[in-house]
């Protein structure tokens, strides 16, 4: 399957979902002649038509990355960060995130650890000390 077709199928399916979801809206009172359904349904229909145009096979296949493993690994690291930020606190979680990302960008282990610690400390000092923004405290209190 070419990349264009894949995208076309995705868009048509998404449009169908959007239209179906809009039709199921219950409007308690008629506030205006158009209501909340018509506009999103029309836009979704247009999107579906564009998607259908893309179903005509054309263009190259989905290009595989040079380093196949890196993007999914990065997604994993980021998802872990999102889930651990509040329990671990900003300082620890951000250091772990930065170490992971630096490693994925090809840093040597020691350099990655250095980058991670410095990035995290600098950002914490900037946000917490200078700008006084609310950051998750975690078990270290920072």
């Amino acid at each position: 399957m070419t990349a264009g077709r894949l995208l076309g199928v995705f868009l048509v399916a998404l449009a169908a979902l959007a239209i179906w979801s809009a039709q199921s809206l219950e409007v308690p009172f008629a506030a205006d002649p158009l209501g909340p359904r018509a506009f999103p349904s029309t836009v979704a229909l247009l999107m579906g038509l564009c998607g259908a145009l893309l179903l005509v096979p054309r263009g190259p296949a989905f290009e595989m990355p040079e380093r196949k493993a890196a993007p999914p690994l990065l997604v994993l690291v980021m998802a872990a960060y999102a889930l651990l930020l509040v329990p671990l606190g900003f300082l620890v979680a951000t250091a772990l995130l930065a170490i992971g990302v630096a490693l994925l960008f090809g840093a040597r282990p020691l350099a990655a650890i250095g980058t991670g610690l410095i990035t995290s400390a600098v950002l914490w000092a900037l946000f917490d000390r200078v700008l006084d923004l609310p950051l998750p405290k975690g078990f270290l209190g920072a």
């Binding site: 002649p33 247009l46 993007p71 990065l74 997604v75 930065a98 980058t115 609310p134």
Partner: protein, 494 residues
């Protein structure tokens, strides 16, 4: 005329406050720096800074002064990599490589950087003067617009997406529609019905603009960057002959022409700085066919595209401020920033919030002077940013992205949402789906629906009311033209 000067004076009183001067300077430095760094554009940087402006409770005029300085400052930075490395830091700097890099190879990299810096300053400053005098008259025209006229205007702005993207028109339109649908998420203000929330409490208030922008652009970009090994090369300034005064005079006519082209292209919605710099380069090359050495290191070949680039960036701000219709992705983010401050740009902005509108314009005079001073002597320092390895830079950018999302919402849910949009942005870039229409659709979607429903209420559901005024008819005809243009262009090319 006189009232413009008076209003501008009031604007300077805002822009010259110490905090605002400081923020303009910070914005100029960040702008130049991100212009240098490949992969981080002004759009990402503004999306990253916006949540901090909100979390720090900066007043709207201060936030806008900072964010806009990042925006027009980036126009100064893109040329540095173009000239020294033959690699444009911003898409609009592609043309600068053609003559800039040959000049650098001849040892005149310093001179090329200087003339492009001066060109950027000339283009931006003249454009700001034009903006000062044109914004209010343009806004006055729009005051008389009815909701139906606005529907046509927004439809026209969105229809241009397919015509100017250069890529596949259906993909650009689909992306615009997707952006509009994303704007529908949350409680419908007209009826109180929940739309597309999938029963989630977090989505009741709608998708946060910063989450979408940071996810699509910043996180998506890093996912894309991590796939390929980045090859860094050392940058050299060159110690050849410095820029002479004669050369500046020689380039001035080209700069003035480029300013005109750039500003006009910039004001038109849809077309951006890349189109402007390409047009002005071609124009100079045609005009000087016999005398120029374009492609081998002509000073005018560096001055013209850089001047046009900066003039177009400023021109892009005019429809955003006076009509509330952004012409590019980055101005859409600026519009989003204003909306988050509950300020609706458009015809009434100049009357109701003169501090914001005129403070911004006045700060742009000051900011461009700062940028000229920053860029002439300090260009070497900015060039050295290129030697920072990717594994130092991008972990920091990513951490900053997440901190921004968290500062805006204090919720881990939004972090996951941003990652989801990041994956979407990455996949769409690989599938050649432009991301800018998503942002434009998101910002304009609510406005389009609100105006449409208002127009329908006024007319009691009569659809013909949408084409009742001459303004709306003209705009719908232009919309149709913009929609059909890609099809016609393809047939002609085939």
């Amino acid at each position: 005329m006189m009232e413009t000067f008076a209003a501008l004076g009031g604007g300077f009183a805002v822009a010259l406050q110490p905090t605002n001067l400081f923020l303009a300077l910070i914005g100029c430095i960040i702008g130049t720096a991100i212009g240098v760094l490949p992969g981080i554009g002004p759009l990402n940087a503004i999306a990253l800074l916006l949540p901090f402006c909100l979390a720090l409770k900066l007043p709207p005029e201060s936030a806008l002064i900072l964010l806009a300085a990042v925006y027009y400052g980036s126009g100064y930075g893109g040329r540095i990599t173009a000239i020294l490395l033959n690699m444009p830091g911003e898409p609009s700097a592609v043309l600068t490589t053609l003559d800039g890099h040959p000049l650098a190879k001849q040892g005149r990299g310093g001179a090329a950087l200087a003339i492009s810096g001066i060109g950027s300053f000339v283009g931006a400053t003249i454009a700001v003067v034009l903006m000062s005098f044109l914004s209010v008259p343009l806004a006055r025209v729009a005051v008389a617009f009815s909701p139906a006229d606005y529907v046509a205007l927004i439809a026209f702005a969105l229809s241009l997406l397919g015509a100017v993207g250069g890529g596949s028109a259906p993909k650009a339109w689909a992306a615009g529609c997707l952006g509009i649908l994303l704007a529908m998420v949350g409680i419908d203000s007209g009826t109180g019905v929940e739309r597309y929330t999938a029963g989630s409490m977090e989505l009741l208030g709608g998708l946060d603009f910063t989450v979408l922008a940071i996810g699509l652009f910043a996180i998506g970009e890093i996912l894309l960057l991590i796939e390929t090994r980045i090859r860094a090369e050392a940058a050299k300034l060159g110690h050849g002959q410095r820029l002479t005064f004669g050369e500046i005079l020689f380039c001035l006519p080209a700069m003035f022409r480029a300013t005109g082209i750039g500003f006009v292209i910039g004001v038109l919605p849809g077309a951006g700085a890349s189109v402007a710099s390409a047009l002005s380069y071609t124009a100079e090359k045609r005009l000087n066919e016999n005398t120029g050495k374009f492609g081998q290191g002509d000073m005018r070949g560096v001055a013209a595209p850089e001047t046009a680039d900066n003039a177009a960036q400023i021109g892009n701000l005019v429809p955003m401020l006076s009509l509330g219709i952004p012409g590019s992705g980055t101005t859409a983010v600026l519009l989003g920033a204003l909306l988050m401050y509950n300020i609706t740009p458009g015809p009434l902005l100049f009357e109701q919030k003169p501090d914001v509108a005129w403070g911004l314009i006045a700060s742009m005079y000051i900011g461009n002077c700062m940028l000229l001073l920053l860029n002439l002597p300090l260009v070497g320092i900015f060039a050295r940013l290129l030697t920072v390895p990717a594994w130092v830079l991008y972990p920091g950018v990513l951490a900053l992205s997440f901190a921004g999302v968290y500062a805006a919402s204090n919720s881990a849910f939004d972090l996951l949402l941003a990652i989801g949009f990041g994956i979407m942005g990455w996949a769409f870039r690989k599938l050649d789906v432009p991301l800018v229409p998503i942002i434009l659709g998101f910002v304009l979607g609510r406005m389009l629906e609100d105006n449409l429903r208002r127009a329908m209420s006024l007319s009691d559901g009569d659809v013909m009311a949408l084409v009742a005024s001459p303004v709306s008819i003209a705009l719908w005809v232009m919309t149709l033209g913009a929609l059909l243009w890609p099809l016609l262009a393809r047939r002609r090319a085939a």
